[in-house]
Structure formats: C-alpha cells, structure tokens
C-alpha cells in the first residue's frame, strides 16, 4: 500500500451537525480520520459521541457533509456496511436466534464474512453454538458479536462502549485480541469508552468531545508528550509556579505541577517528571485550564 493511500482519510466531515429540537448534539464539527489508526473518542455523557458515531454509520440524519469510505452514510448505509462494522451496544444480538443461526444469517448477507474465522474465534471461548443468544451471559453475547465482527474483512470498525458491564478480565482480553488479531494498517478502529485507562495504551489518536464540539484532536504520542507532571523538589516551588503550570496540587508532602508544552529538560531541573495519563489529560483539558 502506498503512503498516499494509507494517509488518505477514510472519514471526512465538514460542518457536521445534528439537533434534536433545541438541543444541539453536534455543533458543526470538522474532522478527518486516516486509515490505519485506533481513535479514541472521549467525552462526558451527552457530549455528542454517540450522535457523531451514528452519523458516521448512517443511523441518523445530519446536516453538513460527511464522507465515509467514499459513501454518503445517510443514503448509502447498506453499501457502506460492506466495509464498516460496528458494535453499538452489547445487547443488540437478536435474543431469539441460536448462535449458529446468527452465523448462518451473517454468512448469507455479508460478502466479506469468513465463517471459519468466526468459528475459530468461538472455539477458543466456551460459548455454546447451539444455544440461543437469550441463554448466554452478557460476556458470552459480546464474544459472539466480537467473533462476527472479527471475521468480517472491514475497513472501519466502530465500537461504542463495547465492554460496558463486562468484568475486567474479559475487557483486557477484548482489547488484546482487538490489537493482536484484528487491527492492521489497512483498518481503522474507533472506540468510545468511559474506561479510558483500559484503552489508552492501544490508541494512536484521540478526539475529545465536549457539548457537541471537538475540543481536541491529536496524535496520542504527541499529546502525551505535551503534558508533563513534575513533583517539585523542596525549595523550588516558586520557580515551578513561575513556569505557569496548568494545574497544581500536592501529594506525599510535595507540590505537583502539570505543564503543557514545556520541554522536559527544563522541567527535570524542578524535580521528578512523568507523563500524564489520558484520563488526567482529559480532565485537565475539560476543566478549561489545559486549552
């Protein structure tokens, strides 16, 4: 694959907006997502994440222009779904179907579904193939859905709170298999979740959404380098405050300061430095100081 193809965006939105009556869920946002990325879309409840994803997936109407893999999602959802997969919510598999019947159906309607791959994935779980979805536990239901999605040769995978209500062991395994068995440079994955710590190590990009606006769009590597926390050594407090930290507090009897876009060598003279986690960056950004 050439660089130009890899870098050409698979999603491009210009002036994308959506209102429900007086409530503006998306306020004319512009963004693009390239191929071969894992993008975390992070925001508080009601920030507009799901509305944005629904627009991308052709599940809702919208104003503005939106192009996903060359399709207009609002009018070409069925064609788009040949190259896009999504898990919208864990409870969406039809409960009255047997697992094997779910596979039969997908095999019949989806040209890019590889049943052997799905069976291989399921064989490593203890999901009973001949049971109805209704009889499965929450975790098993997600495993079935994941097996279906993993077995589809899609270019874009959208996961909206995929691990909601699942135990921590399963969540770890979920993201691990996503990274190891599914993701490659010809695919893009979009994830929204509240459990930011669990996904931050696999993300390549992040997008922060607040009140229907995209407040930050950044490469994960760049972003974590921008924010540095310093445990200021005793006697250097004034020096530290002079560099204008975006927030400061105290822990273990020492002053801690968070800085944005100040080089690490300068900060190292003040005390011990460390990178900030995504959750802390999110909080710092949302509270306004970090912007």
């Amino acid at each position: 694959m050439t660089d130009s193809m890899t870098n050409s965006p698979i999603i491009e939105a210009k002036g994308l907006s959506k209102s429900f009556g007086d409530f503006h869920a998306l306020k004319s946002v512009d963004f693009s997502m390239p191929m071969g990325r894992i993008v975390g879309v992070i925001g508080a409840n009601g920030a507009g994440k799901t509305t944005m994803l629904n627009a991308i997936l052709g599940l809702t109407s919208y104003d503005g222009s939106l192009n996903v893999l060359g399709y207009d999602p609002a009018t070409e959802r069925d064609a788009l779904m040949k190259d896009v997969c999504f898990i919208a919510d864990i409870a969406t598999l039809p409960k009255w179907m047997k697992v094997s019947e779910v596979l039969d159906y997908v095999e019949a309607v989806h040209p890019k579904f590889d049943r052997a791959k799905a069976m291989d994935f399921l064989s490593r779980t203890n999901v009973p193939i001949d049971k109805k979805v209704r009889a499965l536990s929450k975790g098993m239901t997600v495993q079935v859905h994941l097996a279906v999605v993993m077995a589809i040769e899609a270019k874009l995978l959208v996961l909206d709170e995929p691990t909601l209500g699942l135990d921590i062991i399963f969540r770890k395994r979920f993201y691990q298999s996503l990274l190891e068995e599914y993701f490659d440079e010809d695919r893009t994955v979009i994830i929204t979740t509240h459990q930011v710590e669990e996904v931050e190590h696999i993300l390549t990009d992040v997008m922060f959404i607040k009140d229907g606006n995209i407040v930050l769009e950044a490469d994960m590597e760049d972003l974590t380098q921008q924010f540095i926390e310093v445990m200021v050594e005793k006697g250097k407090e004034e020096e530290a405050l002079a560099l204008k930290p975006i927030s400061h507090g105290a822990s273990f009897g020492k002053e801690t300061c968070v800085y944005k876009n100040i080089d690490r060598e300068t900060l190292a003279k003040l005390g011990e430095t460390r990178r900030l986690g995504l959750a802390d960056i999110f909080v710092a950004t949302m509270t306004g100081d970090g912007q």
Partner: protein
Amino acid sequence: MNIFKALVMREILDGKSFYIRTPAILASLTVVLLVLSTLILGEIHLDTVNGNEVKNIGEGMALLQQKEPEEVSSAVTLMYWGITMLTWFAFPFVIFFSLLGTLYEERRDRSIMFWKSMPVADWQEVLAKLFVPLIVAPLIFLGVTIATQLVISIFMGIVVLFQGGPALEMFPLGLMFTSWVILLGHYLMGMLWGLPLLAWLLLVSAFANRVPFLWAVLPPFVLVAIEGIFLKSYSVAKWIGIHMGGWREALENRIVQNIDGPRDVFNLVINAGLTESAAITFSSLNMWVGIVIAAGFTYAAIEMRKRAI
C-alpha cells in the same frame, strides 16, 4: 436474491411459533379429534332422506356411490376441507400479529442495531417483513392443510375399507389438488383487497413506540366514529368492510345458480368463483386505489425504518 432469501428464512425463524407451530398444532389436534371420535363413536346411525338407515361412514359412502356417483368426489373433498378448517381459524390472527410486531419488536429488543450493521437496505428488510406473513405464511398453512388432508384421506380410506365401503373413493386426489390451487387463488385475491389494511399494520409496527395494537385499531375506529357522529355517514367503515372481504358481495350478483348437491357447492365455493372474483378484483377502481394506499403505507414504513435506531 440471496439476501432476500436469507431475510425470508430469518423471518420464518423469528415467527416459528406463528407460522409453523400454530398450524402444526391445530392440524394435529384436528387429526387426533377425528381419529378419537371415529374410534369412540364407531358407528353412527343416520336416517337418510330416502329412509335408508346408515350405520357408519362406509355404508354412507356406499349408498352415496350407488345413488349419486357423480357427487362422491365433491362430497369427500368438501368434507376434508370442513375438517381441516380449524387450522385456518388461526390464520387471520397470525397475519395480524406478525405484521404488527415485525418492525416493533426489533426496535424494542434493540436487535435493529445488529440488523443495521449488515449490508442490507431498509427497503429489503421491510419488503421481506411484508412478504413473509402475506405470501410465505399462507403457503405454509396450505402445506400443513395438504398434509393433513392426505393423512385424513388415508385414515378415512382405511376406515371405509374395514366398513366395507368404496375405499378408493376416499382419495379424490384430482379434485383435492384443484381445490388447493384454486383456494390459493382466492387467498391472493382477498390479500390484494386487504393490502391497504395489512400495510397499515406494517406502518404502525414501524412507528409505534408502545401499544401497537391500540395504534392499529384506534385511529380507524376514531375515524369511523367521527364520520358517523358529524356526517351521519359510514363510508370509512364501509371502505374497511369492503377491503376486509365485503367485496365478495358483488359475486352474488354474478353467480346465479341452483345449488343441488355437493358438486354445485364445490363449484360455487371453490371453482367457478375464481374467474368471477378475478374479474371483479382486477376491474375494480376501489381495489387499485387500495393498492396505491398500501404502497404509500409501505413506503412510509421503509422511511420510518431508515430513521429508526
């Protein structure tokens, strides 16, 4: 086509208890009741019009064959239909509740999000959901009826054989076959007339957020009441009545016959009515207006499904 087939299979699977279990149970019940009543009652004592006493079915058949041989196959076919009618009592309910639930349930259990993650267009989904109750369900019911009638004919053949009657007369297969095909034709005609009402159920199923049953029934009822109270007329009620089967009234003017024996009944009910029905149906403006309304409702249902999450 492959996608449509998959959708049809899925709908049948989803409505298995409606489409398969219901007719199978009723048909089995019919056979069991028939067998039990024959075994328990054993002999019947009937005085025929001519004063001959008939002890059982075998003798009755022998007598009929002797007196009016040309009536036998019609009588037997009509009898089989009469016995298997029980299965069809459930049929209107099956159609009504399948159509009313089909686009409602998938929103309620959120499986719509899974269906929408597949490369299947909303119009394909909605048409499959209309096709299965209207075309596949009656075919399944007819299939069950055919199987039941064959089982009954074998049973009756054995009974009559043992009672010394004309056992072979219990297999009027040619006439039975005719009746199956022709009743399917009658069904299709009735379905075309009923299409606006059936498509209304589909539309309700697409937009109702709760109590689809009330949505299906109340608006037409309110319309009829308003018209009755304020205009003192009943054209809405009449229109609904005509599309539910009232159109057949026009048949009475066309078919004037003296009914004498099962053969005439057979010809009237099953046979001759079909061409007359077809003539009335396809030349009726009312019917075609109904088709246009049905197309509008179906289009609206497709648009609703596009927007549904």
